[in-house]
Each structure stands twice: as structure tokens, then as C-alpha cells.
Symmetry: C2
């Protein structure tokens, strides 16, 4: 037998675990009930007890998406995995995609599409702004895309893209509507069926306040037809909705083994969907609106300015705050982290160093947390300014 | 505001949770310590405390793979996600792949490659057999592949593919060696560097006895060069090793946000790697061999026959047992499940109805569990036979 290299020393020490208040753009803290569910014992991917839990998850997703779509599942992976599932299933060579880019998430989707060798057209808005109905219609006319992709809650700029009417508009131009609701679903009104959204996905670690690892996605009848009528195979076995829909019991056929689902993540998301069901979507939407308004008010009081001026297009789940002139953004984040274990998010992409991002999502969205984040932010601004003098 | 559809009734009831002994081909039961780690509080994907845990996971993977490869990470997804990561990064149009098929996993890999429009050649052996050095060399000469894919522990047939010398052989023919060790890594000797394996992956839910959701994968220097020298972009942003290697701190550059890792799965796999490090690989290999031998002996005693005759090519982690003539395989599985909550696996693919599969992996691999499974299997055979008379 060959000589075995020794185990690494670092694994002989316990993990270092600070309890933090995660007030950035995600992940959120999980309620103890959801963490507890993560620790429940394993079941096999085809065990009836597990497929029952999958059915409950599916029912919960239909509720938070407000949809009756048959093809409603969780992808095994982070929100990016759901994004890639949408891209790989809905598109094939010959398609043209129109991607609305007003932050990182649109850029990411365009990157994914580009890698498939599919024609990508882009519609740009500065981060912090949203697209108008008129410019979308103009772009649909011009590019004749088969798919329009928009980000509902753009966590880069803190915007909320108005979606009412866009589905109908897309269908008029024979185009499907894909919506990324990772940073908004559950926290603001969202009606997949009513608004004619053809593919919608979200993540577990935002408003749902569950660990990342299983990501909800749903396809409308129209979107499902598009997948069923593909001329080419889906370029991924792992993300192939034909298989996933069967494994999730969406096609009326007996379930066949496809892959081993992320058991503990499925337990956790099932429990977080139960939390949201018990609270009720309307209450959750109200709570997010209320807390966000408290936050806006408090931020203005301590002299901070929001990136998004127009309140009606602000995403209550993620608030983007401008770093005032002369303030060292990094010191502020480090101060709140080191002194209070409160995590505030930094800027992404073009906004690195120019903004902070404050998340109020799900379990973390409480007036107490708003007061906490305002208090530590005010103190951090004071202390880091003084330190520099 | 539109009318909101009500939440589903099923989410108002608690989850149904039988504690089972999972003696199938995976998932295994998780030790309480690993389940406990799953329930630890969230950290952000870029928090220094989390990246430290990622570093520890990386060190643990290098240990169980016995490798010093820089590009060693976890993919966010099940073992199939790691398989797809290997396929998407190592191959591009113009490549030729040789896939050894002696069970479902080779078929799956061939399917993944085929979906990329890449030339797939296959080498077949009936399930329950392995490939010889000579036939591999012959196929390498004939097809001149750029990649050879083999399954180390084929859980379909219960075989263990001998790998010593295959790496050197592949390199002689300018070919990379890819190995699937999902159902074997940690339970049997495996030396990635020494054996010249260029890409190796495993799953969390087998010998590691952690929940599925984060899957270890490693690329040799040669494999990394192949990825770096691609003429085309990797056809997935999510699985692109250039990004994953950076996010996992493998490229010497500052980590950039790529996606939100599956926090609770990473905690769990970190803890399961610690369990294996504390036990020591040699002890683990010994334990799996010992328990498997107890199982073989006991099965023969109750008159059952193993699919794989040659002991030297049996995978101690998954034992495939023939269903005797006249026995209803399904009733036996249902009996052990209903009477004792002991789960025994059914056959896969061509072997459905013809075999049972008994897993002895990680936490579940104990002489007590061997005795338990033998006892319930014997009883089930007796009872179901009598019932039929």
C-alpha cells in the first residue's frame, strides 16, 4: 500500500462560529425553526416520505409565486443554478434573447446566454433605474426576441422593476418573459400567472430565510411548450427540466430517479415556506414595506441619501445607500462587523465603494433590526470620521 | 391589489419524519455531529469566517483524494453537478471522449457529453464487471480520445474499477483520466496524484455521510492546463472552474463573489471531513473492508449470491445481491422498510428487479448494521416466501 498523506491539522479544531446579524443583501439569518429542519435525519431521494416533502415544497412555491404551473420545482443549487436552468431550457441556437441590464444580474444572464452561442441583445439602464414599458416595447419591436429577461428586485441598485403588463406585451410580440425574483419574491407583490410571467425563479437565502442550495423555479404552459418543442436537446442533463419535472412529480408519470436532492436544504426550504404560509403573503409584503419605510426615514435622519430617488421603484428588500463624500466605506462596514457583528453589504460592480446595501428580508425584516442597523451605522459614521481627523 | 391565492393546507402540518436506517446505495445516515453542523447559523459567502471554513473543506478534500492539486473545490449541487462540471470544463468541440460503461454512471456521463455535441466513444462491460488494462489500452489506441472516463465504485453493479497504472497509460496516449468516485471515495484506497488521475469527484452523501448539496472535485495540473487552454468558453457560468477556483481561493488572487455557496451543506461536509480525518483514511478503508467481508459471509450463510464473483473487484461500499428465483424483490424491500425502517436499495437500470443493493458507507458502516441488515433480510425472505405459499 502506498504511503498516505496525513490529515490536515485545521480539521482537528472546532469551526469558528460568530453569531452575526446579516443585514446585507443576503443570505439572511434563518429562524431557529428552519435551522432545526436542516438538521433532520436523511431520507433517500425516492422515499415516499421525501417525495411528500417535495410535494409540500412545490405547493409552497406555487403559493409564493402565485401560480398554478405544473412545472414548478426546486433546482439543486444556488440561485445562479436556477438562472442557468432557465437559460439552458428555454433557449437554443436560433433564438434571440433580449436582456434588460440595470445591474449585475442582467449582466450575469447575458453572460450565460452568450456562452451558449445564442444571440444576445441588451437593453441598458444605469444601476438604480428601471425600464419603462415604452422602451421595452420598442426593443421588442426592434430585436424580435424569443425571450425577454428582466430582474424584478435588482439588488445591485435596490430597484424593483414594474412588471404589470409586460407579460401581455411580450406575448403580443411572440416573446416569453423570464423574471429573476431572487432578491424580491416573498417581500413584494408578485403574481406569476396574473402578470403573464413565463419563467420565474428565486433563491432560498433571501426573503425565504433558508440556507442556499435549493432554488425554486416555475415554467408557464407557454414556457413548457417551448422546452417540449426544442429542436435540440437541453445542453445539460443536470438542469434538464424534462427530467426535473418528472423527478418533482410534475408530469403525471411515476417519478424516476434523476439525482440526489439536497435533503437538508429541501427540509429547510419546506419549513421556511411554512413560515411564510402561516404569516400570509399579504402580511409579509406589508411587513417589508413598513420596515423599509422606517429604514428610509431613519437613513435620511442621519443624513444619508438613497440611490433610488423614486420611492415607487425601490425594492423594500434591499436598500442601496450612497457613501457620503469623505467617508471611508470599508471602515464603516468593518466597524459594524467588529463592534456589533452586524453585517452591512458593500456595493457590487460599478457601485463598489460608492454605496452600501442594507437587506431587510424575511426573518431579518423587523423594526428592531431597522433600529439596530441605523444605530450602528450612525455610530460607525461618527467613529470612523473622528478617527480620520 | 389583485386577490392572493391562499397558502396550501399541507404546509400547516408538521413534516412527517421517520428515523430510518439507510442501508441502500446512498444517502447514508449522517452522524449527529454532521446534522448539528447543518443547523449552524448563516454566514455570507464572502465573510472571512466562511472562507476559512471553505479552506478547511478544501484541505479535507485534498486529504481524502490524496492530492496536492491547487484546483480543489466543492461544486454547489449533487454528485451529478460535479460530473457535469468535469464534462463542461474538460471538453469542447473537437475533443473525443472514451467512456467506460459498466453501469448507470458511465451512461449518464456519455449522455452529458453527447448533449455538448462532442464525439463520444464507448467501451462496454456488463454491469458487475470491470475493464482490463489491455482493453483500455486497445481502445485508447483505436479512438485516440482526449479524455477517458471511468467509474471507480460503480454502485449499479457493486464493482470497484482497478485504477493503478491507468493514469500513466492515459498520459502515454495523450489522454486525460477522469474518475467518478462518488460511491467509493473514503471507503477504499484512492490516490489521485500517485495514480495520475486528472479529474476526480465524489458526493457528500455516501462515505462522507453528509447531506447531498456540495460535491468535491479536483483537477490535476494537466487538467487545469486543458481548461486554461480552451479555445471556447466553458458553456456554463455556474460550473466554470475559472470562477469556482477563484471563489475557492485556489488561484492566488483575491476571492471574487461568484455565487452563494450552500452554507449549511458546506458546514456539514466540513464536519464530515473532520470525522474522517480524526479516524484516518487507513482506518476507514480497513473498517469498510472488514464490514463488507462480514456482510459477504452473512449473505452466503442465508443462501444469497453476490453479483460480483471476484472479491478483488467488489466495492465494499455497495454490495449487489441477486434476488433468488421465486422471490418478490419488492415485497422484501417493503417488509424491511415497514417492519424495521431499514432501507435496502433496489436495482438500477438493467438490474431492476434482479438485485438488491446494500450500502455500507461511512457512519453506517458498522458490524452492528451488518448484523441488522442480515437479520431483517433473512426474516423478510422467510416471511415473504411464506406469505406467497
Amino acid at each position: 500500500m502506498a504511503k498516505v498523506s496525513p490529515p490536515p491539522e485545521c480539521l482537528f479544531k472546532p469551526m469558528n462560529f460568530p453569531h452575526k446579524v446579516l443585514m446585507g443583501p443576503g443570505p439572511s439569518n434563518c429562524p431557529p425553526r428552519v435551522l432545526g429542519a436542516s438538521a433532520l435525519p436523511m431520507l433517500g431521494p425516492m422515499h415516499p416520505e421525501f417525495t411528500l416533502i417535495m410535494d409540500e415544497v412545490k405547493a409552497g412555491i406555487k403559493y409564493i409565486f402565485q401560480t398554478n404551473n405544473e412545472w414548478t420545482v426546486c433546482v439543486t443549487g444556488s440561485g445562479h443554478a436556477a438562472m442557468e436552468t432557465a437559460c439552458l431550457n428555454l433557449l437554443e441556437p436560433g433564438d434571440t434573447v433580449l436582456v434588460g441590464i440595470n445591474g449585475l444580474w442582467g449582466e450575469r444572464f447575458a453572460d450565460m446566454v452568450h456562452r451558449q452561442g445564442i444571440d444576445v441583445k441588451t437593453l441598458h439602464r444605469p444601476t438604480g433605474e428601471v425600464f419603462t414599458f415604452e422602451e421595452i416595447e420598442e426593443a421588442l419591436k426592434k430585436h424580435k426576441p424569443t425571450l425577454l429577461s428582466l430582474t424584478h428586485g435588482e439588488s445591485t441598485g435596490g430597484t424593483l422593476q414594474p412588471l404589470e403588463g409586460i407579460g401581455t406585451l411580450c406575448h403580443k410580440y411572440n416573446c416569453l418573459l423570464l423574471v429573476d425574483s431572487i432578491a424580491s419574491c416573498g417581500g413584494v407583490p408578485l403574481f406569476m400567472d396574473l402578470w403573464g410571467i413565463d419563467c420565474l425563479y428565486t433563491g432560498a437565502q433571501k426573503v425565504l430565510s433558508a440556507p442556499s442550495g435549493a432554488s425554486p423555479i416555475s415554467f408557464s404552459k407557454r414556457a413548457k411548450e417551448k422546452v417540449k418543442n426544442r429542436l435540440t436537446e437541453v445542453r445539460s442533463l443536470y438542469f434538464d427540466m424534462n427530467h426535473l419535472a418528472n423527478y418533482w412529480g410534475c408530469d403525471g408519470e411515476a417519478r424516476r430517479y434523476h439525482h440526489t436532492g439536497p435533503t437538508s436544504c429541501i427540509y429547510a426550504i419546506r419549513e421556511s415556506l411554512a413560515v411564510l404560509a402561516e404569516q400570509g403573503l399579504e402580511e409579509s409584503w406589508k411587513k417589508h414595506k413598513h420596515c423599509a419605510e422606517l429604514l428610509y426615514e431613519g437613513l435620511e435622519k442621519i443624513g444619508l441619501e438613497l440611490l433610488v430617488k423614486d420611492k415607487s421603484i425601490r425594492n423594500p428588500c434591499v436598500t442601496v445607500v450612497k457613501v457620503p463624500d469623505g467617508v471611508d466605506w470599508k471602515s464603516v462596514i468593518e466597524y459594524t462587523r467588529k463592534t456589533y457583528r452586524v453585517e452591512i453589504g458593500s456595493g457590487l460592480g460599478v457601485l463598489v465603494g460608492k454605496v452600501w446595501r442594507i437587506g431587510l428580508m424575511g426573518y431579518n425584516c423587523t423594526p428592531d433590526n431597522v433600529r439596530l442597523v441605523l444605530r450602528v451605522l450612525e455610530e460607525a459614521l461618527r467613529v470612523t470620521r473622528t478617527a480620520k481627523l
